[in-house]
């Protein structure tokens, strides 16, 4: 303690000559202190490398290729993670399934964030009747259990979309359906956060000043107020990725999500419960990957919250 005080008083000049930190530097400094968040970032980078780099070594047709002769084999040199109930290589399937799971997580959050921001921003900025109507809708959505909504919507939309080709991969239409469903059933918390931010931010004098020079309302909402509320949105969206991946795992596990042969970590678990004792490699590998991903994203989200939004400690 004494030492730090002394050294601080010995070198005050350096302190003065140092230019003030930019916001980016400040955020990075706070983030860096969060060991678990750094751990999360490293693990996420490894996971992305695994899912997208692994595809360079194993083809998707190999991942989907069934060979009943070698079904339910334990880990071996040929199949490091073993084979599943129809003899597909689990290592290859975790790689391609990882792509889908991560893709679903990220894109579902884009939809979620888009909806959440739009609804929260309009409700918060306009207030009055607009606010009441939008918030009642939000509350109505919140009152229906998300899992129930997911199952009903998955059942309703399944098989109604054709396969699509994107980035050289063919996705079953069910992937798009799942992304849409997860996005549409998860925007409510974000909408509430955005609304609360807008309610307080719109009273700021800079909003009045912007209006006084004739800034159109659309610009005030999206270019003046929204950037001020970006910190909680980023944090919430990050945590949303983890939730989306979990949601996908739920419904795929129940057999209502992404349809085989397209692999996801979630639908790889489907059917594994019959072999919990006899063939644990069926669920250990995809299960571990899901847990690792969700855990890392949550750590990252926590770190981001502390770094971007130091005042709000409680979620």
């Amino acid at each position: 303690m004494v030492e730090t005080t002394l050294s601080a008083s010995i070198h005050p000049v350096d302190e003065l000559l140092t230019p003030p930190l930019s916001l980016r530097q400040l955020v990075w400094r706070r983030f860096r202190r969060h060991t678990m968040a750094l751990f999360g970032v490293v693990v996420l980078i490894l996971l992305f490398t695994y899912a997208f780099g692994g595809a360079l070594f194993l083809t998707e047709s190999y991942a989907n290729q069934t060979e009943t002769g070698v079904r339910l084999q334990g880990p071996s040199a040929v199949h490091p993670f073993g084979t599943d109930t129809v003899g597909r290589d689990i290592l290859a399937r975790t790689i391609y399934g990882g792509q889908i799971s991560l893709l679903i997580g990220l894109t579902a959050v884009l939809i979620e964030t888009g909806f959440g921001i739009l609804i929260g921003a309009f409700a918060g900025y306009y207030g009055g009747v607009v606010d009441s109507v939008l918030m009642r809708i939000t509350e109505a959505m919140l009152n229906i259990p998300q899992l129930f909504l997911l199952i009903v919507m998955a059942k309703f939309f399944s098989g109604k979309l054709p396969n699509i080709t994107l980035l050289g991969r063919t996705f079953s239409g069910s992937v798009v359906v799942i992304i849409g469903i997860i996005g549409l059933t998860s925007w409510m918390y974000l909408a509430r956060i955005v609304r609360a931010e807008f309610l307080s931010l719109k009273e700021n004098e800079f909003v009045l000043a912007a209006r006084a020079i004739g800034t159109p309302r659309r610009e005030i909402i999206f270019q003046h107020i929204l950037p001020n509320s970006i910190a909680p949105i980023v944090v919430s969206a990050t945590l949303g990725v983890a939730n989306a991946i979990l949601s996908e795992a739920y419904i795929s596990f129940l057999g209502l999500g992404v349809q085989p042969p397209t692999a996801t970590w979630g639908n790889m678990l489907d059917g594994a419960y019959n072999y919990i004792d006899t063939a644990p490699w069926l669920w250990v590998f995809p299960g571990t990957l899901i847990v690792l991903t969700v855990l890392s994203i949550n750590f990252l989200g926590d770190g981001l919250r502390d770094a971007l939004d130091p005042r709000s400690r409680v979620a």
Binding site: G128, N204, E205, F206, L208, A209, A210, R211, A212, I213, G214, T215, P216, R217, E219, Q223, H224, P227, N228, I230
Partner: protein, 328 residues
């Protein structure tokens, strides 16, 4: 000089849980081209609200404009829709505010905020707008304008921010600038600089200025004409010399007596006005100043005097003659 803005019988109210606040109670005034009009009065007397009402900037609800018109170049501003008003605000009529520390958006660069109205109103492209913004910064006395466009508000001091606000407000060379106590939050030397800057910009652009303040010292230096407001009413209107030399409303007399002046003896005690302004929740009955007035007569309690001319260019709202104390 022609009339630029003519406000007639403007009444603004706010519905609050406690009742209806009568913020502005039927004020009428005109503003000539290139003129500087000062609006003075103590806090809460409706100065700001009356100006915000004209620009459609009061929140509705709870606010409500109960009556009146504000004619500007053949248009009634009070009847325009929000998109129409957006084309007026910043282009024709601009406003600057009291708090330079909070009037700039903390997360946007200064350049982004200055080019806003250039792009919105004049349709300038990014490059042109940036060059113009740099010129504007230099013209309001911020050196190295081009460099500073990339800076954020927290990198500027209070006085500098008010300069930036002025640059933003004047970017499109409006014909009216409404300055809502722009110097109140600044220290005295900076105040003088800002006043000087507005005077200089007024001459450069040839705009009219409405200067809202409670600082009668500033008024003397800048205004052509003065409106004195009290409890949402205009109680006196005069050109600036007559007002200081010969105030005719008891409130103005009291205000001037409360003002320190260089030409008075140092041991002369400043006189404060006893009491407080009336509660605007109560619908005004009689003269709103009656309770604090030295000259009050019986009639003041029952009838509210209307603003009436007493000499060319002079109007007061009072039942008595402050010179003699006798009813008029």
């Amino acid at each position: 000089m022609g009339t630029l803005l003519e406000v007639t019988d403007l009444r603004t109210r706010f519905s609050t849980p406690e009742g209806v606040v009568h913020a502005v109670n039927g004020i009428s005034y005109t503003l000539a081209e290139g003129e500087t009009l000062a609006v003075v009065g103590e806090s809460g007397c409706g100065k700001s609200v009356s100006m915000l009402s004209v620009l459609g900037l009061i929140p509705i609800p709870p606010g409500q404009i109960a009556s009146g018109s504000a004619r500007y170049r053949g248009m009634d501003l009070l009847k325009l829709s929000e998109p129409e008003l957006e084309t007026i605000r910043g282009r024709e009529i601009s406003m600057i505010f009291q708090e330079p520390m909070t009037s700039l958006n903390p997360v946007l660069t200064i350049g982004r905020q200055i080019t806003e109205s250039l792009r919105t109103h004049l349709g300038m492209d990014h490059g042109t707008a940036n060059r113009r913004a740099a010129e504007l910064l230099e013209s309001v006395g911020i050196p190295d304008g081009g460099q500073r466009l990339r800076d954020y508000p927290h990198q500027f001091s209070g006085g500098m921010r008010q300069r930036v606000m002025i640059a933003i407000a004047l970017a499109c060379a409006p014909s009216i600038l409404i300055a809502d106590e722009p110097t109140t939050a600044l220290d005295v030397t900076i105040q003088a600089q800002i006043v000087e800057l507005v005077i200089q910009m007024r001459q450069q652009i040839g705009m009219a200025v409405i200067w809202i303040t409670h600082d009668l010292g500033v008024v003397a230096g800048i205004a052509d004409r003065v409106i004195v407001m009290y409890a949402g009413f205009i109680v006196e209107e005069a050109d600036v010399e007559s007002l200081y030399a010969d105030p005719r409303h008891p409130y103005t007399v009291a205000l001037l007596a409360a003002l320190p002046r260089a030409d008075r003896r140092r041991d002369h005690r400043l006189k404060s006005i006893p009491g407080a302004p009336p509660n605007l929740l109560v619908k005004p009955q009689g003269c709103p100043f009656a309770r604090r007035c030295d000259f009050v007569i019986e009639r003041c309690w029952s009838d509210n005097p209307a603003l009436a001319p007493i000499a060319p260019g002079r109007k007061i709202a009072c039942w008595i003659d402050v010179k003699t104390g006798a009813p008029r």
